[in-house]
Amino acid sequence: MSVIEAVGLRKQFTVRVKSGRLRRTRRTVAAVDGVDLTVERGEMLGYIGPNGAGKSTTLKMLTGVLMPSGGSVRVCGYAPVPERTRLARRIGVVFGQRSQLWWDLPLQESFTLLRHIYRVPPADHAARLRECRSLLDLDEFLDTPVRQLSLGQRMRGELTAALLHGPEVLFLDEPTIGLDVVSKQAVRGFLAAQGSRGDTTLVLTTHDLADIERLARRLVVIDHGRVVHDGTLDSLHARYGSRRLVVVDLAEPVPDPAIELPGVTLAAASPDGLRLTYALDGSGVTAGELVARLATTAALRDLAVVEPSIEEVVTRLYAEG
């Protein structure tokens, strides 16, 4: 059985728009407009899209915070809103900018309280906490009140808090937002380790492309409340015409750098004409064929092949939407 099954998931909001001095008209806006999503146990899913695309709304519907206006959804076999408390024991949730921790108490106490809230057997709790303590280096600030923690320390605490009851699915809304580079690395490494064990399903929304490359084996791209892509990173590249770049440094400029080869375009040339960048859209010649052709007309000093960046893909995707 799939861990998450959503069919035709919809969420409409009624907004009141000012029209004229006193009059306001109601308008219905579909934040999520028919999302189909099936996630199997152990998957690592990146749920991405521009601001306002419906990512957080979907996540809230999956975790039982928001009531869907249409469609059907089951998470761990439960209908999230009616069976909220039963579902809550099976999932972990980390909202990047909201805290599950007790602000004024030492971090350690939040973990103890969560053990009571989720009624976790003490031995299981201790084992999971021990693992998180070593993987996330919590020991140095376990006795510090949460309000005094740095953002990175707090996020490490949030991750631990979300995992102490051994959830089957971990929902992460922007888990690395605002973190420094070192903390980001720590969080990503930890999540990658969790995901690679295969028993926890990871669903994360993010704006950070490094998160996606490191953590998301499968990408679901949402825009205007609809799924516009569902597949691997590679299939996303293929579909949106990601281009590999071939950068060559020449010994001396050539009179006509443009090359008539299928699937090749001259993307850039330095002012002195010594560095040329060609883009390959994958439909025509290979990088090898391009280099071989270049070598016949110019003296090459150096060359580099730049793999397509997801950044470019997503930027283009958002620009089209």
Binding site: F13, V65, L105, I117
Partner: protein
């Protein structure tokens, strides 16, 4: 294993005690507030021997019953007026993803220990007023002296919760709810027969405020109701509180459903 709510309550108490200076300050401020209210009553009796036909001893009993009920409610749920803040900072979402009821969690998270001073003060005042009024004690009156403030506290709590829930629909409703909560505190502090017309009907009987202090006080004092209703109405306090709690629970559920369908 003890109830998770008890653990949450203890944690909340520890959190508040971690701000020692401001805790002491609030404790002090809350006691002074009640002192100012009491002063107002005493001043009124400087210019008149009777208020609505009630002596100062009788009025002080009504005042103390109302103050105790309100202080208890304020201690338990008074902070719920901050629900707008909780919506904004996302605390409500955080509570929704935990395997416990939202309202109990919220009440526990909100437990205003710093208002405990007011409860102690009001209870001492109530004890003093009971002695001063020379209550003719019977087992029934002893029971009522304990049940009435608790019932009143439930009624006030219901009004606090229902009032705060309005924030789900109308964001700026904060001060409106105050009209009913703090207004209710003032209303219940005086004999109901000083009010008249629709104002008395709406608040004494519609909102149930007459059952917080006035009717229980009549039973304790063994006085007939100047309004002509049976004095035994004082015993109806728990029932009135129960109805109010049911209404508040309904309003709360509707409010949460609204929140979960609009996300605002």
């Amino acid at each position: 294993m003890a109830s998770p709510y008890l653990h949450l309550l203890a944690a909340q108490a520890r959190s508040q005690l971690s701000y020692r200076a401001s805790f002491a300050l609030d404790l002090f401020g809350n006691v002074v507030t009640l002192g100012a209210d009491l002063l107002a009553v005493l001043i009124l009796f400087r210019v008149t021997p009777l208020l609505g036909g009630f002596t100062i001893a009788e009025e002080l009993l009504i005042f103390a019953l109302a103050a105790t009920a309100f202080a208890l409610a304020d201690l338990a749920v008074g902070n719920i007026e901050r629900i707008r803040l909780y919506v904004r900072i996302g605390l409500l979402d955080a509570l929704l993803v935990r395997p416990l009821g939202v309202l109990p969690q919220l009440l526990v998270v909100d437990f205003g220990l710093r208002r405990a001073g007011r409860v102690v003060y009001a209870a001492v005042l109530l004890a003093g007023a009971l002695v001063y009024a020379q209550v003719d004690w019977t087992p029934g009156r002893v029971a009522l002296a304990i049940v009435a403030p608790i019932s009143g506290a439930v009624l006030f709590s219901a009004i606090f919760v229902a009032g705060a829930t309005v924030a789900f629909w109308w964001i700026e409703s904060g001060e409106l709810a105050n009209a009913l909560t703090y207004g209710g505190r003032d209303f219940t502090a005086y004999p109901v027969n000083v009010y008249s017309g629709w104002f008395r009907r709406v608040f004494a009987f519609g909102a149930g405020f007459a059952f917080v202090a006035y009717y229980p006080a009549l039973v304790l004092l063994g006085r007939p109701d100047p309004l002509g209703l049976p004095t035994g109405l004082g015993w109806a306090s728990p029932a009135v509180a129960g109805v109010a709690a049911a209404v508040a629970a309904f309003v709360w559920r509707t409010g949460v459903r609204q929140y979960r369908s609009t996300g605002s």
